[in-house]
Subunit: 218 residues, 2 copies
DNA sequence: TTGTTGCTGGACCATGTGGTCCGGTTCCTC
DNA sequence: GAGGAACCGGACCACATGGTCCAGCAACAA
């Protein structure tokens, strides 16, 4: 997962190449550790060790743990949006949606449904604990949904979707199915529920196709 | 939320009425606190204070924090299933499903989408941290889905649903929409996404009705 | 009544964890 | 190359938090 330049440098301070690299290493380690253990269960010492840095570096680049977590929210959000943009910005057909679905399912099946969505898990853990993180995550979800709804808009404009299809609502429904699917798959340690959930949402979208192709969804 | 006898007494030990009451008080406090703060962010001292007990009582009734959490998983699961059973065991029509949806939405809207589902949030927080809790939660989800699918089976047997409707898959999809809806609503501090998600799932189920009544979903 | 066990209060302990400090090194600027 | 700021290593600190202990009271069986 290469991720150069995703992390924003600090506010009005001079910053060296080495500094950027260190900050990046910290965020990358935090990203990996907190995905599998959760935010609160990951200690700064864990991150320090995994990132081959020292305490002073952590506190040189971030004011405290909370700020590190907030930076991670931004970092992870940028990674997800970057990945999703690649898969969605040219979406113009129903089969494109199916390919997108398959990619997500396959990625998640690699670890038997474990860990879930990096954004969703943070959302549930932080929403009632850090208002700033919550609103940032909420914006990221909105941007993600917009990538989907933009694609659906294109499909509607091209006459693939009926006029009465509501791209925004369809995108929200699809996102909910995705997140709920992640959650159930994580609890079951099995991707199957995620597949069922996504298929339901795709089926719903398909019902708005002008010419409902009767190809299977996978 | 009355909840007598939901908590199981301890294994082969003599136990007094007073002991049961204390144990119940502890679980109830843990339930309330961990719903709003999350499991890991709630300390034993918080629980001790909120339940008007002492450290020794906590450790008299539970071996350690992990066991308390596991007991809470059971406790909360029983509460949810009890509540859901009341709302679902007589489900025989599509409008019954709509009423069920409305009840959930209304309950969640009381706190502007905050806190989410007691089971879902625990699932995401504990799944990668406590295998026993995870499998217990997974079973609870399965039981919950079964309440739904049983209702759908009844509808199919009564000729309301088409024969090609798959109650199990429909129930899983609905549950995913519900959980994803909770998650997005929590992140947005707004019930709207939860409504959209549930409506999508209901719409999907409605498409399997033999006589698709064109009443609105709410 | 008496013995045994459940139950409770609360002081106390061990340590994991977030956070500080300071001396030293690297890097940029003039 | 000299000054200063960014950067780094790691020892150190404060304290929150999970967990222990024990003395005493309540409850129940005989």
């Amino acid at each position: 997962m290469s991720d150069e330049q995703v992390a924003a440098p600090r506010n009005g301070r001079r910053i060296s190449q080495r500094g950027i690299a260190t900050r990046e290493r910290i965020l990358d380690a935090a990203n990996r550790l907190m995905l599998v253990r959760g935010v609160n269960a990951t200690t700064l010492d864990d991150i320090r060790e995994a990132s081959q840095t020292s305490k002073s570096q952590l506190y040189h680049h971030f004011a405290d743990k909370q700020e590190l977590v907030r930076a991670l929210v931004t970092y992870r959000g940028a990674l997800v949006l970057q990945r999703e943009r690649a898969g969605l910005e040219r979406l113009r057909s129903f089969s494109g949606l199916v390919r997108w679905r398959n990619a997500l399912v396959q990625a998640n099946s690699l670890n038997n449904g474990k860990y879930g969505c990096g954004l969703g898990s943070m959302a549930l853990e932080l929403s009632d604990q850090d208002e700033q993180a919550r609103s940032s995550l909420s914006e990221t979800f909105a941007a993600w949904e917009k990538l989907i709804s933009d694609g659906l808009h294109r499909m509607r404009d091209n006459g693939l979707l009926r006029r009465d299809a509501d791209p925004e609502k369809l995108a929200t429904g699809l996102m909910a199915a995705l997140q709920g699917g992640y959650l159930l798959a994580n609890a079951a340690h099995d991707v199957a529920p995620m597949e069922v959930a996504l298929d339901m949402a795709l089926e719903h979208i398909r019902s708005f196709l002008v010419q409902p192709a009767d190809e299977p969804t996978r």
